[in-house]
């Protein structure tokens, strides 16, 4: 396998294998045991736009496995500001590292980088395009909660137009036969080409503007942030944002094992009253970013995860 640019780079079988690897690596991710599977390997972190969780969890994942990380640092102080092309930056970092994690504001940048590089590229988000490592941690979180991925009913809510997280995730869930409900304001609907792609793959997709009504028999509710800057007028923003705000009182009728996820950061879309409910999974989900990325780093570097994970105590 070269790199991970979109979820199409993985078969369902590979996805399940990587999730199983991740499950076994949990004690390593928690720091309970030390297992330096990636000792001597270097990850290049190339984040051309801001990232907290993705960048930090890649770094943590690599270090928990005994590997090292070099960072591009702030784009404003790198040679990008001097006008260096992405092609040249990749050529350079390719020589310094064994694998590259990258986020870029332009769509297609990860594939472009993979074509230019000899080391694997892990796409950490390219414009409004794909974010497959987030999808892997989302799938891990869902499987952890429900024990399976197949045939679940998943509500994706909020900004479905610009949110790359939900684009990658909905493709992956379709491959596992999940029923998808897209709940969003009209302005932020899932792009038409994605809906038609999903339907062509046999997905059962329902589009609605009513979040609360669609939650009752769902297994997963995946919330996303509605960004104020997407709206021309503030009243419209307030109306839309208000209709996609989850509060503990909205959860009385939902299934007991339904989980609420969010790629974070959240603003107002999940009220803190939800945090203490049995449904909240977004902080575990953020932690799972480490373990999912650990499993992906091992897979892309060709390092098998032992069937029984044992290591030295810290």
């Amino acid at each position: 396998m070269a790199g991970l640019i979109t979820m199409d780079d993985l078969t369902n079988e590979q996805i399940l294998e990587i999730l199983a690897d991740a499950e076994r690596l949990l004690p390593v991710a928690r720091g309970e045991i030390y297992l330096p599977l990636l000792q001597g390997r270097i990850l290049g972190n190339l984040f051309f736009e801001p990232s907290t969780r993705t960048r930090m969890s890649f770094e943590t994942a690599m270090k928990r496995l005994g590997g090292d990380v070099v960072n591009l640092g702030d784009v404003k102080t790198s040679s990008v500001v001097k006008g260096e092309t992405l092609f040249d930056t990749i050529q350079m970092v390719d020589g310094y590292t064994d694998i590259i994690a990258m986020r870029h504001p332009r769509q297609g940048a990860a594939q472009y980088a993979q074509d230019a590089a000899s080391v694997p590229i892990l796409n950490g988000g390219d414009g409004a395009g794909h974010h497959p490592t987030q999808t892997m941690l989302d799938l891990f979180t869902i499987k952890q909660a429900h024990g399976r991925l197949e045939g679940l009913k998943v509500v994706l809510a909020g900004d479905l137009r610009y949110g790359r997280t939900v684009h990658s995730l909905s493709h992956a869930l379709t491959r596992f036969g999940c029923e998808l409900i897209f709940a969003s304001p009209d302005l932020l609907k899932m792009p038409e080409e994605i809906v038609s792609d999903l339907r062509a793959q046999g997905a059962d997709v329902v589009e609605t503007e009513d979040l609360y009504d669609s939650m009752n028999d769902a297994d997963v509710v995946y919330m996303t942030r509605i960004q104020k800057e997407r709206f021309a007028d503030e009243d419209e923003y307030a109306r839309c944002a208000g209709a996609y705000k989850l509060h503990a009182r909205h959860l009385n009728e939902v299934k007991t094992d339904m989980i609420i996820m969010h790629p974070l950061p959240r603003v107002d879309e999940i009220d803190p009253s939800v945090d203490a409910t049995r449904h909240a999974r977004y902080f575990e989900q953020a932690f799972n970013g480490v373990v999912a990325r650990m499993a992906l780093l091992c897979r892309l570097l060709g390092v098998p995860v032992p069937e029984v994970v044992q290591g030295g105590a810290l």
Partner: protein, 158 residues
Amino acid sequence: MSNEHSMRRVTAIRNGTVIDHIPSGQAMRVLEMLGIGGATAVPVSLVMNVPSKKMGSKDIIKVEDREVTQPELDRLALVAPDAHVSIIRAYSVAEKLTINLGEEVVNVVRCTFSNCITTNLREPQDHRLKVVKRDPLQLRCHYCGRPQDLAELANNVL
């Protein structure tokens, strides 16, 4: 009406290129893709929506004193992949050219999506559009994966 009658709607040319079997209504887009506009000095004749046995109706273009080049044929493949192109010399067909629309269109046009990485023209890698479907033509960018706006492609010729 026979094909011969359709061809005779405009006079025969001495030297140049005849593009026949253009899908009806696409002649203007063909001219755009070939960069032939008001400022072009050579005479250009165009007939649109003439009956055709094979296609029902079709468009035909005759460009005098200009022979289409391979890069122009590659662009033509995006709007009229089944067109017949003949090079005319001294009133006779000197050459028949074949349009090949392969699996991928490389360095002919750039992606129509404004936030694609390839919109930075300083990036040196090839511009690559994958042919997803031939009839009707559907293209996607190799890098960003976006479906291409065919009407916009003429503005993105490289």
